[in-house]
Symmetry: D3
Subunit: 320 residues, 6 copies
């Protein structure tokens, strides 16, 4: 890495509430060129079934990154010291056209991949994971998924529509972008309809499901171990729907389900993934109008930082 | 009207916070049969450009109807005494498919027209006016419009999409459902792009525009007079985008524009429309997540009641 | 007035957010002895029909008195310089027992009268005016009322109950505490039931009603003139239900009615009452849970200060 | 059960924010006839000592039932498939009269029992449990109670009043409706006065108390076991004051006490009660003005669904 | 102006909630070079007497600029078409050191002046006007002030401190940066202490004061005329403390005073200043924690845009 | 203790929402004379780096003490029965002058010590601990510290300023007021800068640090044990920055860090400190504008009560 690292905003004497608001206090760049990891927003919520507003998620996550200081006290990770990281803004979307938006988001992510950078996105609803995968994964080399969620998001269609926030993983697996044998879902819970074709299909694909009951039996550390086993040695993508976390920590989301993992659990699991070949990730479903205090976005930003730490360490490890 | 009137909930000794929450405390019916005026929700916000959430508008307007007691102290109108009025629930929508949703909302409204009832809708974003007009107006007999709004909503397309909350009146005029010579817009204001094709087109059609400057010069009573002149003697539909009203009264909406009419102004204008042949109406763009206190929905419900008073008096006048 | 005035908190170098929170930044005293005017709370909301929470009104009005500096820039009134004024705390109430609470609140107010002080209360729901009048007015010398309200509050009973926030003026007039010929209601509006016995009764008593339409025709100054004419030369009590004011200024109240007077109007009317023989008053129906930002209570506290200015000037005038 | 089940709203293609808002997305019926389990509201908060607003609890619980899909992913329970369940609206109340309200609520519940249905209520303050028990339990066959609460609610009187939210279980036991030997309280904690007659009396009756310390020692599963032992084989009623749960999960309640059980704990305990003869229940003390975001009501609705699952399974078991 | 104009974000097909959030949707630049007008934040609130939080004002004003589309419908002004305008971020501050912060903010503004650009700032508390004036005005050519405010801000010191939000105009006049004969204050009102040295001093300097009473007598248009007379033909700076506006429009500020001008009034006054030689301005005292809904910041951003229109037209006029 | 105890407000029949709002419902006194323990506020937030507002913390903690009833159900502690305790109001501060404010707060605390009372303070930002220690501790007899916090607050200076909320323990140790060998920090976590001089210095002094990872390994009881070992037998002060607690319990604070201890944990740890020689304490960093619901302040007040119980028991033990 011959280039200088891009220090996060605030590493010098600058008050933490000073502009610009960027994701994780990264510097602002206009594109992915020269970056190791590109942070960006995907302000699309047209795929939401219940309560919307996640189009404003990236904005509030930027504002609530105020206290993130660049280094992880628990793990010692210092991604900004090790890698060139910047916030490259938001992918373009058309809030009236699912297909077009998925295409423009895909193209945006493809530019990141073409520049040699790894993607770390802030949603938007969970549909946004599909364009990230389409733009950055080659179906000849599908990724494994560590997938935090209350819902499997493997429906074929809702109301006859194939692109929405309940379907991205059905599409991604169909398209060969994700290897279902290396896909682990963590945090499933809540209520279902009488027949749940999404869960059935997920089982058929061989996806590993750690529902809330299993999680609370295993505990966070063993859950991380289990996830490591499932995804194994190949490239891994971390997708984190914040409704996988308990609503006490994430009230500002469209489809909250009581009884989930807590922020501490999430930190332990994510830190337990160190050493995996993590090459991308996203945090999604933050709906600011449902929590104007920003507490949800604060927690989401801190989890995004945990994923960044994993990606940064892996980027360095790969280059050794 | 041989049938008994349907008294509003609360005309007897019932605490006003008692279930069911219906629009304007009307009784609940499963369909429009036997009604003079059907109240209903259109929980669709897929047409929103800026901040969404209006899909929850009908629900909050029902909850904030708590204090509406059936008679208008200012005008003496008593719509529930004169007409059979009920809340028939929400039109079906598919939040992922504009075209399908417009079709199912249109069909829902057509059933109202077929039953001989007049429609009074709670949105949803302003796109919902198009299906109401499609379902209840015959292009051989177009309606005049009293149209309260900060924006003209006469764009041809936004981001290439023809069905969204900036286009309904372009479509309705193209389809012959609205007579642009009898269309008056009240409350226009705010910022525009350098060229504003929507305003230009509206002018070309002969739509009368009373922007905020004109309104404040005229005052509310003269504005009502002007509106009466424009719409004249034929059937009239009242469409009320709450962003026509000042954000101090309607903070909970997606595209607020400072400097609008106040609630008192709205009451005076609407009461100034008495005697017109008003056959339908809607109040739209209430976004509850943007105002969880319900104050916006309270005001919106009270304006919906003013429109109901006009429709009720007209229904009686027509039957004489 | 041989005693020293009690300067308001903050007249010296003290940060305005410093304890104690008192009504209008008055000093705190344990009882009315030696006071000219006693400020106090009446934290009772058991008389509320629709949305409750006004039991917390005095507390929030104390907190939102933070910016009140003792002198009225518009009128020059300086009540704390002219009179001995203190916050004597809250009247005791039993939230489960209307009759007992009315009795204990009456006794509390009677102590104020017995000490020679004048009462200025913060509610609580509007029922609280009854015990103030019972405790401080002698039926041989009934007061005139300047009464701001969206509703007449002259019902005989609601749900068969004679003591609630829709009945205090029926009771007070029946008991000879208020002279209905010197009673003016300002701000009436909203919706009514088909027959409105409360309004009918009020008319029969000869109460003067300035409804919202009349108010907006007259304007604030002429409204004050009209009120002066009605109450004439005898002792006057000012009762201010904040729902008389527009909900844009007072969202945090149980029964808001759009289209009311604005804060500026209220200031003009109240200042237009200077010179009347005002001997008591109250501001009521602030419900903090319905407006946790405190903006409603801020406005209510400032109107309470306007009433204090009137009482202070009158107290001085009487003693001359 | 020869009749068709009443499928919950949303089992077909209907957007989840579509009217009507019913408890747990059940269908709406006008009365209990033909039902196995009647869901209903008890919008009464006149019994509240500290912060009120629970009169609006049923309304917000209906709105926040938006994501409940009818089947329990954790237990497989499918109450709507097994039983005829509907929301029959709210019991009538007079917010000014405790005794009358308790009587009308009792009569409402008696109709449910007379129709052969089991009651599952949404409060209202905790006093509402008394009329449910009075209306549906015969003192010849008292119920056992699984009672979640931070407070014992076994006072004799508060401020001299015998009917309020601190007394329902004193009354119910005195009246023979509850067998104190089969009464288990879970979650007691907080602060007390120097002598606590409520706790003393509860001990004397032989009520089993699992306070917060005991709960955290036992854990959720053993707590459920302990509760099963206490209530044994006879009919059981589950009463859930949401202040038994930690305020992090239930901020919108009048008397929150830090340090309680979490939502996950509640789910585990409730699911641990499967197989008991549970014939009724309630969830109470949701105060929407204290949490306008609806997060408290969301959690309360999900716990109400857990109780419904228990009642549904028991109803089927009894009919076998 | 040989350079290309900098079109605002959103002049092409980009969803309005897309990053970056800039003031008035201007483009982002790292410094003032090549600009005609520099927009920037001054995130300093160490000068606040009552309720703080204005340090976050620029951030929320950026987020709530979402609906600003570049042209003024009422006046036709199109500042982005006429001038090179960009958001150059925030001035550096040290929240612990008034003097140092004023110095660093002054230096930041001096760079703007040195680059030949005019300043338009978002506060921060009202102290921020002092460094703007120090950095951009030469005491040989003092500016006139159009100054909107509820308070005169001409104290000598508060608690012995000379730099705070009640003193900037005392300092600026002492330093010869402002000509008091060309200084007009609009909107003064509220409460005062028994002696008000700030007002007295302001009178002595010959400052013209249009208090709320005068404003409501004059009306907005005549107020603008009066302001024009006072400031006359020389360079003018517009400083807008949002507490000059009524709290119904600006609840999120530290020292709100009921009874002020409304947004419509502000628009009329500001538009009435067209043709003056306006060379700078600021909008200050937006405290986001006091209004998390952003409604205050929305209004503030729209008023900042009105000032921008004035500056843009003047910049063009000067260059002709 | 020959004097009568001062019973808390509410020990007799008084509704809990009745004035005055005092800390922990203690009685109000004007000074520390005759008290065993003085409760007071320190409304200073000029030392805040990120989000301010803690100047209003004491006020909201008073309002949210509503449910505290004087005795600790878990431990049986009854401080008001054992000691003379009162709320003596707020220390004077100058929000513009750190040094002066620290001095006036120090003097206020010195009066408490001189009266023989022990201090228990409500902040304010964490800088307030320094004046408490300066005013009440003699450097010849330094205290041990049980210090709950997400951050060590042992910086030398921030932005060159030595007095702010990141430095109090550096100052206190330098001044010999705290014995670093008897100083235990509990709850450290979050993000750091690349070099963290504050942590390094703290290590060098021999401060014991139990970060979040250690805490979750140990559990609450063992953490209390560890803390007891560190502070040993001498006088101990408990300082509780609420950001040591998880943001799910304390959202209303300026620098929240996810993944902290929960309220239950805090209760267990604090109760585990019984028997130590605890002579003072504080709870700080409650920022009401960041949580207007008051839930944060509720939790903070309950933790302050736990500390009071420890001090009360110790005061009695010392006097035996």
């Amino acid at each position: 890495m011959p280039q200088e690292p891009l220090k996060p905003i605030g590493s010098e004497a600058i008050a933490p509430f000073t502009y610009p608001d960027t994701l994780l206090r990264a510097q602002r760049r206009d594109g992915p060129e020269g970056l190791d990891i590109a942070l960006f927003g995907m302000p699309y919520d047209g795929g939401t079934i219940a309560r919307d507003g996640a189009r404003h998620g990236p904005g509030q996550m930027r504002q609530m990154s105020i206290n993130i200081r660049g280094c992880n006290m628990a793990t010692g990770a210092a991604p900004f010291a090790d890698c060139r990281i910047a916030d490259i803004g938001d992918a373009p979307v058309n809030s009236f056209d699912h297909e077009q938006s998925v295409d423009t988001m895909t193209a945006f992510c493809k530019e990141i991949a073409d520049a040699g950078a790894w993607p770390l996105a802030a949603g938007g609803d969970h549909l946004i994971t599909l364009p990230v995968l389409r733009g950055t994964v080659d179906s000849s080399d599908p990724v494994g998924l560590v997938h935090f969620d209350a819902h499997p998001d493997t429906h074929d269609a809702i109301f006859g529509t194939k692109l929405n926030h309940a379907t991205p993983f059905r599409r991604a697996i169909e398209e060969g972008l994700v290897d279902p044998k290396r896909h682990v879902m963590i945090g499933l819970r809540g209520t279902t309809r009488e027949t749940d074709a999404a869960l059935d299909w997920a089982h058929e694909q061989g996806i590993t499901m750690i529902d809330a009951d299993m999680f609370f039996d295993l505990g966070a550390k063993a859950t991380a171990e289990k996830a490591r086993e499932v995804v194994g040695g190949g490239p891994v993508y971390v997708t984190l729907d914040i409704d996988g976390v308990d609503p006490a920590d994430m009230p500002g989301t469209g489809s909250p389900e009581p009884g989930g993992m807590r922020m501490r659990d999430m930190q332990v699991i994510l830190r337990g993934l160190r050493g995996l070949d993590i090459v991308g990730g996203d945090v999604n479903e933050v709906s600011p109008p449902l929590d104007p205090t920003g507490y949800t976005a604060l927690n989401a930003a801190h989890l995004m930082f945990e994923i960044l730490c994993l990606m940064g360490e892996n980027r360095v490890a790969r280059e050794l």
